[in-house]
């Protein structure tokens, strides 16, 4: 038992090494996301705030609920408020749950910027300074209109985040852009790559008249690419996706994916830090919300995207 205790003590000492020197001088901003640890897309956000922190010389922290449970996220926002930072940057993944904690933080005198998920209206309602992101429905609508011009008549929307209503808005917007009813075209794919791949294969063989696919992020896009390669529809069927990643960029290059909609997460992380720092230091604030997307990424001009995919893009 003595040995165990000594080992425990040694481990505790070793672990304190990870406690960053977080109480340095200067402003401190906390970014709270709703993403589970498993979502690699948010890596760009982490890199984005880290770079912003370096550039404007402030301290930044990234926080998220490990399982993606929004109720846990509410606790993290309350925690962040209790630690009295200069500003909080957060998503509005579930307005009902997060409204209370966020407006409490605002009332406590902490500046809040809503990024990524949520709407400009909701951001105003909780008392945030602004909203930085890509309005989901509008982005889906733009994608749907473009797909219609490119000849899509019946589609499948692969939704890997069915529990998040805002993500589903992309499918709804896409259907409206095409001018057809969503019906049962939205698939609850789950997040396991093998399951997604097989569900897509099954759906496409059961519905041979589907001529367009929309995936909502790398989690659903990567297995869908594999599925299309397997059943030989790669390059034949119209394929659009939200967000970018290494696999998606390669597929755009290979002609499997027609375009990726980049909401430019880097800007969603980088800009709020810059905005907050300048607001705290000089009292200047842009007069409107910032739309970080949508930007369509096609096979032309992929070089920068490819170089920084998964890191800053």
């Amino acid at each position: 038992m003595k040995k165990a205790l000594i080992a425990a003590f040694a481990a505790a000492v070793a672990l304190t090494g990870f406690v960053s020197a977080s109480w340095a001088e200067g402003e401190r901003y906390v970014l709270v996301s709703h993403a589970p640890d498993s979502d690699s897309w948010w890596n760009t956000i982490k890199n984005g705030i880290a770079l912003a922190g370096e550039h404007v010389n402030v301290e930044v922290e990234y926080r998220n609920p490990p399982t993606g449970d929004i109720a846990d996220m509410a606790r993290i926002i309350e925690q962040a408020a209790a630690s009295a930072p200069d500003g909080i940057i957060t998503t509005l993944a579930d307005f009902d749950v997060l409204k209370g904690p966020i407006s409490d933080a605002v009332d406590q005198g902490i500046d809040v910027i809503i990024m990524n998920t949520g709407t400009p209206e909701q951001a105003r309602e909780v008392g945030a300074l602004m909203y930085v992101g890509q309005p989901e429905y509008d982005a889906g609508l733009a994608a749907g209109r473009r797909a219609k011009d490119e000849g899509v008549t019946k589609f499948l929307c692969v939704n890997h985040a069915i529990q998040q209503p805002t993500v589903g808005e992309r499918c709804r917007g896409y259907a409206d852009g095409l001018g057809i009813d969503l019906g049962d075209a939205m698939m609850d794919s789950g997040t396991d790559p093998a399951e997604i791949k097989n569900k897509v294969l099954a759906y496409l063989s059961a519905n041979p008249d589907v001529d367009g696919i929309l995936t909502l992020g790398p989690v659903s896009a990567d297995p869908t690419i594999a599925a299309l390669k397997e059943n030989g529809m790669a390059g034949d069927i119209h394929f659009g996706t939200f967000d970018l990643g290494a696999e998606i960029v390669q597929a755009i290059k290979d002609g499997i994916i027609n375009w990726g909609i980049d909401q430019q997460p880097f800007l969603q992380a980088y800009l709020p830090v810059v905005v907050l720092a300048n607001y705290d230091r000089y009292g200047v604030l842009p007069g409107n919300n910032i739309n970080s997307g949508p930007g369509f990424v096609t096979a032309d001009g992929l070089e920068k995207v490819e170089q920084f995919a998964g890191e800053y893009r």
């Binding site: 109720a71 606790r75 209790a82 630690s83 579930d94 749950v97 009332d107 406590q108």
Partner: protein
């Protein structure tokens, strides 16, 4: 076993002499106590000035710990009775969603929605127990099935009825309800207002709540946690039924021979676990005003981890509710404390694993000291 544990005569030559100090120290929850002291020492050293120990910070980790405690009490008693319930997390999501569907979608009174959800979930708990008893299958498998079934319905119902997976607006329909405040209310507001007025607690600087204290009461969630822990502890250590729980988990066959109604005890414990999960869900739904299909994900493991940190034996027959409560406290304080200490949040699982491992090793030594096994 038909009477509560008798105070044994100390001069009995069959019982080994033991000093009073040793007897007071060597108990199932010792590991939890050591861990609690260690964890608080750690965070007092590394996160003292981070806001973790001001009123808002204390409330923050207390709420998270209380959440763990509520499900840990149920899981602890069930584990001592020799069974597992892996459906706790799904049950939380399911119960919350049922309340939302009954009260918001169907427009029934909130009190009726809450009572109906409790009835449904406790019934599902009883069915879990009944299947385990009747088939003799490991509860691990049976409740794993319920985990999937309940989670599936929790996504399917709202998706079919409302075309979305989060149902909001519960706070509005619960307005003025008599039962809702018992789960979502707060107590002690006047005390906190006074503390805010005299400056002990910070007050809001702006907005509609200006002048009000940032902590304006103790949420009922914490009250529920304390009540359940006390209830569980008394039930386990001071009643005949408590002895039955130990006996059912220790050696079910031997317990049957001496007349313990093992089946009834186990089924009741499954029902109690379901009750605890529903309390958790109701508090959450009433506080946040919405039910989501992903609520409670992985909470079953968090409950089991808290119970194991608290010294209970996975195979049943041994454990302590106070230990489980301390395990929940450690869990909650570590989870939120790491944020306060500014630790990279992806390291949370590393800490959790390390703590779990050390707790189990320590608990094994303590148990050997108590039971004398080798």
């Amino acid at each position: 076993m038909s009477e509560t544990a008798q105070v044994t005569d100390l001069s009995d030559e069959r019982i080994k002499e033991m000093s009073a100090l040793r007897r007071a120290l060597i108990r199932p929850e010792l590991g939890g106590m050591v861990g609690t002291v260690a964890v608080f020492t750690f965070f007092l050293l590394f996160a003292y000035d981070s806001g973790m120990f001001n009123a808002q910070g204390v409330l923050n980790w207390s709420i998270v710990s209380a959440q763990f405690m509520i499900i840990a009490v149920g899981a602890c008693l069930l584990m001592i009775a020799g069974e597992f319930d892996l459906s706790v997390g799904s049950m939380i999501g399911f119960a919350g969603m049922m309340i939302a569907i009954f009260s918001v979608t169907l427009g029934w009174p909130t009190w009726l929605a809450i009572i109906l959800s409790f009835a449904m979930c406790i019934t599902i708990g009883a069915i879990n127990g009944f299947i385990v008893i009747r088939t003799g299958l490991p509860s691990f498998i049976v409740t794993l099935a319920s985990l999937f079934i309940l989670r599936g319905f929790t996504i399917y119902f709202p998706q079919t009825i409302e075309r979305k997976t989060i149902i909001g607006g519960i706070r509005d329909v619960a307005e003025g309800d008599w039962l809702a405040p018992i789960f979502g209310g707060k107590i002690g507001q006047p005390v906190f207002q006074w503390l805010g007025d005299v400056g002990v607690i910070d007050t809001f600087e702006r907005g509609t709540r200006q002048g009000q204290p940032v902590v304006d009461g103790i949420p009922m969630l914490i009250v529920w946690a304390i009540v359940l822990v006390i209830f569980g502890h008394v039930l386990l250590t001071k009643t005949r039924f408590g002895n039955w729980i130990f006996a059912a988990g220790g050696d079910a066959q031997a317990a049957r021979y001496v007349g313990v109604p093992v089946n009834r005890v186990k089924i009741l414990m499954f029902m109690f676990t379901a009750f605890c999960a529903t309390v958790f869900a109701t508090c959450q739904v009433m506080e946040f005003g919405s039910a989501g299909a992903d609520r409670g994900l992985l909470k079953e493991f968090e409950a089991i981890i808290a119970v194991v940190i608290g010294g209970a034996l996975l195979t049943g027959g041994y454990g302590s509710v106070i230990g489980a409560a301390l395990g929940a406290l450690i869990f909650g304080v570590v989870q939120q404390g790491l944020f306060f200490a500014g630790v990279e949040s992806s390291l949370f699982r590393v800490f959790l694993g390390v703590i779990l491992l050390f707790a189990v090793i320590l608990n094994t030594y303590i148990r050997r000291m108590i039971t004398g096994e080798r």
